[in-house]
Symmetry: D2
Subunit: 300 residues, 4 copies
């Protein structure tokens, strides 16, 4: 299995060896699109996708994302980034170039409920997720067999409130060892410490099993049942130190009715959780998500 | 227009002169369906629709709704209700017969935003809502022309927090004068007093412009925008004395994205509000909604 | 894995050892509900769910499904079915009792695309599908490893138009050997012969990758792309000898746009195919689907 | 009412007196975005929205839409268009500038079913549709009162197959008299002649009451009922001389089930028809729709 996926990654890298992306945010003013698109043109890059957004026609913040093809891109990275400095300075830009062939390394954290993990693995082995799932960390052993059967390292780290500090030290060491770019909490039911979260800004994606901001916190399906809602939902968001208050990347819902028990809601919800998390991770991996004032701009 | 609608109602009454409904709730135990369906059979009623629900297989509450056809039903009403007493007693039932030809009288309360009112009027004049819209009450005059052009009495009663008592006295008098069965708050932006609400249990339907329990209270679209949700919704519910906490009848959502301003959310939300309120009112008019422990059972 | 699932099945059988279902269709007339519910009551069965449908108030066909609990049901099967004959005759009924503890045996046919198979296996191992997946048959070997890793027999039978007869003989022998109740075509891309289909009326469920009746036949996503539709869909249906014309059990759609290539449609479609097929199979396993005049009544 | 809407239009024109749009399609090649965005920058235009699409990374067609703000735009129209010629020639562009303050004139054709017309009027009087609804043409008189009550000219032109030629002559005369930009067939149940259609390429929007390409032609709801579909839909498309085969602008669906009669499907379908047509018209009015090889690119 691992071999097959490595084949996927290699063929993806081959197909995308000239594919780059440029993300920019800056104070809105005339001339930004012209300046950046000129720059790319002069560097021999052909823009294949572009999206822009402005928070406010006047005095707001401007965001733009370009996806481009450029011959021998990997040899030009340093030059591109160096030469872009002049434009970046002129418009006071936050910016980054990313290169599709530099595949992001992902760590998945999971607990006993495996449906979100399985969905991610399934999308991954289908070739739809371009990432290297470098390891899976869990406080239970339920996922061990399936993860290892796919050739992915599995790390069992029992966790509890009392030993949170030690647990996180081990986790942080692993993240460093594996050079991780993205952490996905695929129903990992432990709270992370502020230090852990702060160290990974907009790089931890969680799935919450309600349409936030409804049912923040524990046991959302039980509370949804009790409230008698006619829709249940799921929300994927970047983790911040305000519980379930981080920037929302994606949400979806499913219809339920009076016949559905709290247990039924959980089962129905699994499908939404799986798809909502998978979409958010996919968009993140493709550098389509920008965070601004606790809201996300998703260029999809 | 009024003439055309009166034509609708008359033809509905004619088509439904033998159509009755029986709603029952009681402690769950064997034999209920058999007893009630036998009773209806012996009275010459043919069951055309039946739905049941049990909160819990053992020791729970059982709900059943029958819709039936019975020759000369209007002459048999008293007899039916009298003879049903024996069964009702045996099973400790809460129960009611309703008769489709006894069309419910509805009062619509509205403020300055007319989209929900217009949807209700539109469904009504299409013949899809079987009710007599007996009057419209508003604290503004915006709806006057359209309401009166349809031959419906319009009552303008300016309202504010300070004069709430006097306002409600006038409203209650009108509800009594017109013999109203159902009150629909079609974006009527005033809070009703506990006395007013208590006097109409499960007979006031409100539309709230969020997917409750998210964004309870004022300005939900502004708050939805600020929170950066990817879905907005609307909720129709019976009004109780806990603000926006009454039993939910129906909810729906629409997808939004980062380009939508708070004003866009309001516009997009209008469509959801209209359809969600219309569905809830329709189900109530057809006696499809039962309230149990602040949740609704909707037999649709 | 197999052990875990056998545990699921055993605990399901234990929990449902008193659970039966009765499905009836007959010419509509008064007294049916009364007669059947009385019968069940007298036999000591408590009705926990009932649904009915009539194709036409007058002179139509009436359908009813009861789900009931009855002490020591497995000892009473023969008696129930014998004693029901009198009622069945009186109302000219088609009828069957089924027993939840008699778990249906399912064969899954699959080709090279595994997403539908994987979804079924996933729902099954989660305990949501109450069936014994007795074997998987495929004309390719792609599914072999995953299927056998779950302890399910995998039969590789290469297929082509030329040898259809021999292939089907082998398949039919396996279906008989394993005593199969339900055949699921989980993207099995071969046409079945009329003899094969006729031998399994309403017992073969297929997933077609379009919202039928649009795009009947081959390559629906390519044709959907060419037509420029804004929605793509999937349809699960019972197989008949009219290609893609059998009774529809379930359909769903997903939104697409001009940016999506035919390949993108295929990827997006996989999610719909998986969920639509899984729902249809689940409803069939719970005896919720009745076929009437090439349409389905789904009591869900 | 007319006065109120004229107020809307005037305030829209005022708010948008500097708002222009540029739509371009041309063979794909590097440098297009740079050239056009430079041009706009040099002319003093600030890009507030841009969207692009390429049918194929290599050798395909490239589409781009800019929305921009430019001081004193109405004085610069001729200059802009003149100076753009050089770029247009260099890249072999099809292109057009449009000016938001030049409000399009719309004619609505309707028959006896008014729900789509009413939705358009409702969106219009809410200020959400920026168009001048210059006249309504109908082969029935049902819409007369409501249309005239809003101050819109209503033209009653009885129609039938036999007199199609004369009818269309009258209609064409009216379209010319009123200087119409867009024709909306809001459930106008007459076939237009090839001459009529050819004279208005991509300027006639129709609503078809099925999810095309399912149920092309007459009586789609009856056929949907008979086929037993679980979803019904509606499709808005530009009219071409192939019946119901024109480029699709928007589609949507609603879930139905076995209890819904053909008449119920019609009622449920009305809501979808209304919203699907309204969205398509809105996007057309905002110059968001480009037709390419019988498919639409919708930059929304």
């Amino acid at each position: 299995m691992k071999t097959r996926i490595e084949g996927h990654l290699r063929s993806f890298q081959e197909n995308n060896r000239n594919r780059g992306r440029l993300l920019v945010s800056c104070p809105d003013q005339p001339g930004i699109v012209a300046a950046v698109s000129n720059f790319l043109y002069e560097k021999g890059a052909n823009i294949v996708e572009s999206s822009q957004h402005s928070t406010n026609p006047e005095g707001g913040t401007f965001f733009i994302r370009f996806e481009f093809e450029c011959e021998n891109l990997n040899e030009k990275e340093a030059l591109l980034e160096h030469d872009f400095l002049a434009i970046a300075e002129r418009f006071s830009m936050d910016w980054k170039f990313t290169y599709a062939y530099k595949v992001k390394k992902t760590a998945i954290f999971v607990s006993k409920e495996l449906h979100c993990l399985l969905e991610l693995l399934w999308e991954w082995q289908s070739g739809d997720f371009t990432t290297d799932i470098a390891l899976v960390i869990s406080n239970h052993e339920d996922a061990k067999d399936i993860v290892e059967s796919m050739g992915i390292p599995f790390h069992y780290i029992p966790a509890s409130k009392e030993i949170r500090k030690e647990v996180e030290e081990k986790q942080l060491q692993l993240l460093e060892d594996y050079d991780i770019d993205l952490i996905v909490l695929a129903r990992y039911m432990q709270i992370l410490t502020p230090d852990f979260v702060t160290a990974h800004p907009n790089r931890i994606i969680n799935i919450h099993h309600s349409f936030l901001p409804a049912f923040i916190g524990a046991r959302p399906y039980e509370r949804a049942y009790k409230r008698g809602v006619k829709l249940i939902g799921a929300t994927s968001h970047y983790v911040t130190n305000d519980l379930d208050e981080g920037p929302i990347i994606e949400q979806d819902i499913e219809r339920v009715n009076h016949r559905d028990s709290a247990d039924d809601l959980k089962k129905i919800g699994r499908l939404i959780e799986r798809t909502v998390l998978a979409r958010a991770v996919k968009w993140h991996l493709e550098d389509r998500v920008i965070v601004h004032e606790n809201r996300t701009i998703v260029f999809n």
